[in-house]
Amino acid sequence: MNENQKTILVVENDTVLSGMLMNALTLAGFHVVQAWNGIEGLDAVRAHKPDLMLLDIDMPEMNGITMLKKLHEEGNRTHAIILTNMNTPEQVANATEEGAYEYLIKADWELDQIVEQIKLKLKV
């Protein structure tokens, strides 16, 4: 990893989707860290200090919204993009309240479009 390389944390419990995200982001020049649930995600944020997080909501042990809430309680304001297929009104509201940068429905986006969104946010 070089000094200018941006780090993206992917918190996603679906191994297939997480693998494809990692692949696409690595090819786009990002350093990618993976976590499989909110608890691992919290540890990864503390250890790697990512520039941006891609967070799923529906995960075992700790969901993405709770993870975001815990980070905010610690004063951590890392940019977060919620990337989920769980699109209930309550969850959109909770994510917005916790200051999620953006709320994207996975199925609506192609991988390259998600990479473009991230590049846009990080001004890469």
């Binding site: 679906d14 989707l17 989920t84 297929n85 209930t88 429905i105 609506d108």
Partner: protein, 327 residues
């Protein structure tokens, strides 16, 4: 006698009690009539008895007995009311629980369905540049069909989710002030690939200026996507066109979405905003008839209006939305 019979038929006692789903002796309307009859009889009886037995003790006894009797009848009526109300409340709570369970089931099922479809979508997109050029024409066609079917699956899951959200009673609109010109441009950019895969060209003609609108961007997105998707599905085949126009007044904006497909069946036009409606060309046009229903529900949510005209090669939907939310 005939008059009394008429009064009873006017009261529609049996019908009303059946509506409430209670037996006759638990039906407030019936018990009220009985109570009225009892009171009249009791008063007349007291009068007659009072005329024959002038003793004040006898009158006091009679009035006391009458009062106790009326109290018992009153208590019966109150109990009947309570039984009806408690029964209804239980029923409402039960229905609410069932609806909540159904919604939860739909959310979970759609989440899992959409996750699998997303894996297919992203996987095919990743593999396409590596293997597509090496495939024989028939397999290229198969690949294209797989992509299209998968997109339809995603579209269907989105529609089911939208209907579940729109039909649940707890919709909270989170309005933001947005520029409609830029917002529609953004949506068209997102939908670009979808149009291309269907062989549909798109033009967008916004005015040079348009007032900002206070609206919930999530539901506004759903409305635009639904109408754009329907327009591209119903455009001429194999190559069609969709034209989008934006206009405004002092209080409203109007979004016009036009396609060049065949006219909608005149009979079916009457049912176009109904759930599960499907025109006679349903076998040719994919979809389950949810689209226009969703568009209408969202437009109603915004206190807007949706209308359409359809003639051969020209079907136009116009959505008019207030610039400021109506409480």
């Amino acid at each position: 006698m005939l008059k009394i019979k008429n009064i009873f038929s006017e009261l529609k006692l049996g019908e009303k009690c059946r509506e409430l789903g209670v037996d006759l002796w638990s039906c407030p309307r019936f018990i009220f009539v009985i109570m009225g009859a009892v009171i009249i009889t009791a008063i007349i009886a007291t009068y007659i008895v009072g005329q024959h037995y002038v003793s004040p003790d006898a009158i006091i006894l009679l009035v006391s007995l009458l009062t106790v009797f009326l109290l018992v009848v009153g208590q019966t009526i109150v109990s009947a009311f309570e039984r009806v109300v408690v029964g209804r409340n239980r029923e409402i709570t039960h229905v609410k629980e069932i609806i909540e369970l159904r919604d939860q089931f739909v959310y979970i099922a759609i989440h899992d369905l959409a996750s699998a479809a997303t894996a297919m979508k992203w996987g095919m997109r990743t593999l396409e540049p590596k293997i597509y050029s090496h495939l024989p024409p028939t397999e290229k066609e198969l690949f294209a069909h797989l992509r299209l079917r998968n997109e339809r699956l995603i579209g269907l899951s989105r529609q089911i989710l939208n209907i579940t959200k729109l039909e649940s009673a707890n919709i909270i609109l989170r309005n933001e002030t947005i520029d409609p010109i830029a917002f529609i441009s953004g949506e068209l950019a997102s939908a670009g690939r979808n149009f291309t895969s269907k062989g549909v060209s798109v033009t967008y003609n916004p005015p040079s200026e348009c007032p900002l609108i206070e609206i919930d961007p999530k539901y506004f997105t759903d409305l635009l996507r639904t109408l754009l998707n329907e327009a591209s599905d119903h455009a001429a085949k194999p190559t069609g066109a969709v034209h989008i126009f934006l206009s405004h007044t002092n209080d409203t904006i109007s979004i016009t979405i036009e396609n060049d497909g065949p006219a909608l069946d005149p009979l079916a036009q009457q049912h176009i905003f109904e759930k599960l409606w499907r025109d006679e060309n349903g076998s040719r046009i994919e979809g389950l008839g949810f689209g226009y229903y969703i568009a209408k529900k969202i437009t109603d949510l915004f206190h807007g209006k949706i209308s359409f005209t359809s003639i051969p090669d020209h079907t136009v939907f116009v959505v008019t939305l207030p610039l400021h939310p109506i409480q």
